[in-house]
């Protein structure tokens, strides 16, 4: 079925990015938005925009009834869920199907099956995919049985939530005496976060790399892979920097991992874009982690290295067309890196920051791509994800891509709130990163210094100029309306006493 109108059930950079491809394909891109997002960039870019109302995610971007109603009221043919929100919600995919609206993603059955991590793992074992040694408890597993199984796997072990993600409900257990308390804590956290307290045990692999394989299937049984992405640079299981290819993956290993991923994808009847996440140890052994049944945040680096538009391919495949690329045509070239710009303060343990983006000027140049969900003047609220943008660079080899990233980060003024951009630059310039010695504990192990704090004198000239350009406040004006007025009793320039505001 040929689509005409597509609704993007998402916000931020991914909604903007999907809009671009839809428009390029001659499709009508429809945005939805919450009350706080009414002026957001993804709304401005779209061809049509519909209000969801509300502020929280539950009231807006997770509101299935409202989204489906909008689709039916406005002759929308398909929904692109982006990532997060409803993208891995099998119930929503099913409701779309019932309403004769194309859900751009895998079938509800596949989403369901892969969403439950225990079930996904069983399926992978059946398909011959190597998995991390683990123990899946039954309903009445006693603490003694857990302890016995943990001994079999060998400490350290990880306690993980069955319905988990993002590190919630996950605990590392170093020795037997910590097991009972860690199990309890993880079960509590899991039931609070996911409404499902089931946990399982897994072998802890020291200094592993996070390697994931991009897979793509169509509705005719074809599945291809588009190589790997390395996402080892993480904080609290949140990815920060990704690259493709991985410095640790040889062409032989790529072929082996890719074929394994394709075999597994075929076994579960996978269609559309998906990602199989693996851990890779230092002996080139890889272990299956999970399947993400959606487009990944870091998909642009694969697009660079394989010269494809994954969103375009998603649309074609969702329309029932065969895959637009064959395995033998897919040859990686060059190197791509991605940095995630987060509104988080590295100096205060990465707590989220809110405020107005007073200055926001993404860099441009050869081999530079910036997928932004914001623009200068955007207000960053507490309601949604702290990711502002993804900066991607591409080069002939890893060092060229890295140098372009360092340049791009250094030519990307972002002011008005604190963020991790200087921190990203420090990681990119770390000798161990330059050497390609990346693993999932990199940020914990290395001390990342995000730069000097003492402002050079020249900067003060700019500050003086900036303050001078702002209008002074007349006496009696109420405070709290403009940033300048928040200065309170501070005075600028020559005051009547000639002291220039100095005490």
């Amino acid at each position: 079925m040929q689509m005409k109108k597509v609704l993007i059930a998402n916000r931020g950079e991914i909604a903007v990015r999907v809009t671009r491809t839809l428009q390029q394909m001659g499709l009508v891109a429809c945005a939805v938005y919450s009350e706080v997002d009414k002026n957001a960039l993804h709304v401005q870019c779209a061809d049509e925009a519909y209000a969801l109302g509300g502020t929280t995610s539950l009231e807006s971007y997770l509101n299935q009834d409202k989204i489906l109603k909008i689709c039916q009221d406005h002759q929308i043919d398909a929904v692109h869920p982006g990532y997060g929100f409803l993208s891995e919600n099998a119930g929503f995919a099913r409701r779309c199907q019932e309403a004769k609206i194309i859900f751009i993603g895998p079938s509800p059955e596949v989403i369901d099956g892969m969403g439950d991590k225990l079930h996904a793992k069983e399926k992978m074992v059946e398909a011959g995919v190597p998995v991390v040694p683990s123990f899946n408890p039954g309903k009445d597993t006693s603490p003694e049985q857990y302890a016995e199984e943990a001994e079999k796997i060998g400490y350290p072990v990880l306690v993980k939530a069955a319905a988990g993600g993002g590190g919630k409900g996950m605990r590392k257990v170093e020795s037997a005496d910590q097991l009972a308390s860690s199990l309890e804590a993880a079960q509590n956290e899991a039931s609070k976060a996911f409404g499902d307290g089931r946990v399982f045990l897994e072998k802890y692999i020291s200094q592993p790399r996070h390697i994931e394989i991009q897979i793509f299937g169509d509705q005719h049984g074809n599945v291809v892979h588009l190589g790997e992405r390395e996402c080892s640079i993480q904080r609290r299981y949140q990815k920060v920097i990704e690259e493709a290819p991985s410095p640790a993956v040889s062409p032989e290993l790529r072929k082996e991992m890719g074929e394994t991923a394709c075999r597994a994808a075929k076994a579960i009847g996978y269609s559309n874009a998906g990602t199989m996440e693996f851990l890779l140890d230092d002996a080139d052994k890889f272990y299956f982690l999970e399947v993400n049944t959606r487009l990944q945040v870091e998909h642009p680096i694969t697009e660079c290295v394989y010269d494809v538009d994954l969103v375009r391919a998603q649309i074609l495949v969702a329309q029932g067309q065969p895959l637009p690329f064959q395995q033998e045509d897919l040859k990686p070239r060059g190197w791509a890196m991605e940095c995630r710009l987060y509104a988080e303060d590295p100096s205060r343990n990465f707590l989220p920051c809110t405020g107005t983006l007073e200055v926001y000027e993404p860099p441009v140049g050869p081999g530079i791509r910036c997928d932004s969900g914001v623009q200068q003047g955007s207000i960053i609220s507490v309601h949604y994800d702290p990711m502002l943008a993804k900066l991607v660079t591409f080069g002939h080899d890893r060092e060229e891509a890295r140098q372009r990233m360092v340049w791009a980060l250094a030519h990307f003024p972002v002011l008005g709130l604190r963020h991790n951009l200087p921190y990203l630059k420090a990681v990119l310039e770390h000798p161990e990163f330059i050497a390609g010695h990346t693993h999932t504990h990199f940020l914990q192990q290395h001390n990342i210094d995000s730069g000097p704090t003492q402002v050079p004198k020249s900067g003060l000239v700019a500050l003086a100029h900036f303050l001078q350009a702002q209008k002074p406040v007349s006496a009696g004006t109420s405070i709290e309306t403009t940033p300048f007025q928040e200065l309170g009793g501070w005075r600028l320039l020559e005051s009547p006493d000639g002291m220039g505001g100095l005490p």
Binding site: P352, V382, P386, L417, L460, V461, E486, W490, L493
Partner: protein, 145 residues
């Protein structure tokens, strides 16, 4: 121009740089640096200078809003260390608490944060309820002095 910074006064006329649009130029050497300035919060300003970001605070004689430094909980009060929504309050007025006991759980940008009691004591006031939006540095709870 004289700037009254929290670290002390500075006369920018003595600094051999001048500004042309968004670029600083050294009057003697001709060296150029891209620059941007923005207000951050309270008396704090951010200066982006050739890829680095610096924060500068102006001296102030008037009232000031809570910035990051005003967001630290002290002996008697528990303050929000980030802007966000209160998810739950774990204690009631009059309840005895111990050091490190979780008092308030809040959320911002999908991240949860547990605020713990800075000391042992009795809860004097609970100033927030679940669902309430709070700013950085807002007082959430007071302990009896």
């Amino acid at each position: 121009m004289k700037l009254n910074l929290s670290s002390g006064p500075v006369d920018t006329d003595d600094i051999p740089w001048e500004i042309h649009q968004d670029t600083l130029r050294n009057k003697k050497t001709g060296r150029q640096l891209p620059v941007r300035v923005a207000h951050l919060q309270g008396n704090q300003y951010q200066i982006w200078l050739a890829g680095q970001i610096y924060e500068v605070e102006l001296a102030n004689s008037g009232p000031r809003r809570a910035g990051a430094d005003g967001a630290k909980s002290n002996e008697h009060t528990v303050k929000s260390s980030m802007p966000g929504t209160i998810l739950s309050v774990k204690v009631k007025k009059g309840e005895e608490v111990t050091t490190g006991q979780p008092l308030v759980i809040m959320e911002s940008m999908k991240m949860e944060l547990t605020l713990e009691s800075p000391r042992a004591g009795k809860v004097a006031k609970v100033l927030v309820h679940p669902g309430k939006l709070v700013e950085l540095g807002a007082v959430l709870l007071e302990l009896e002095k």
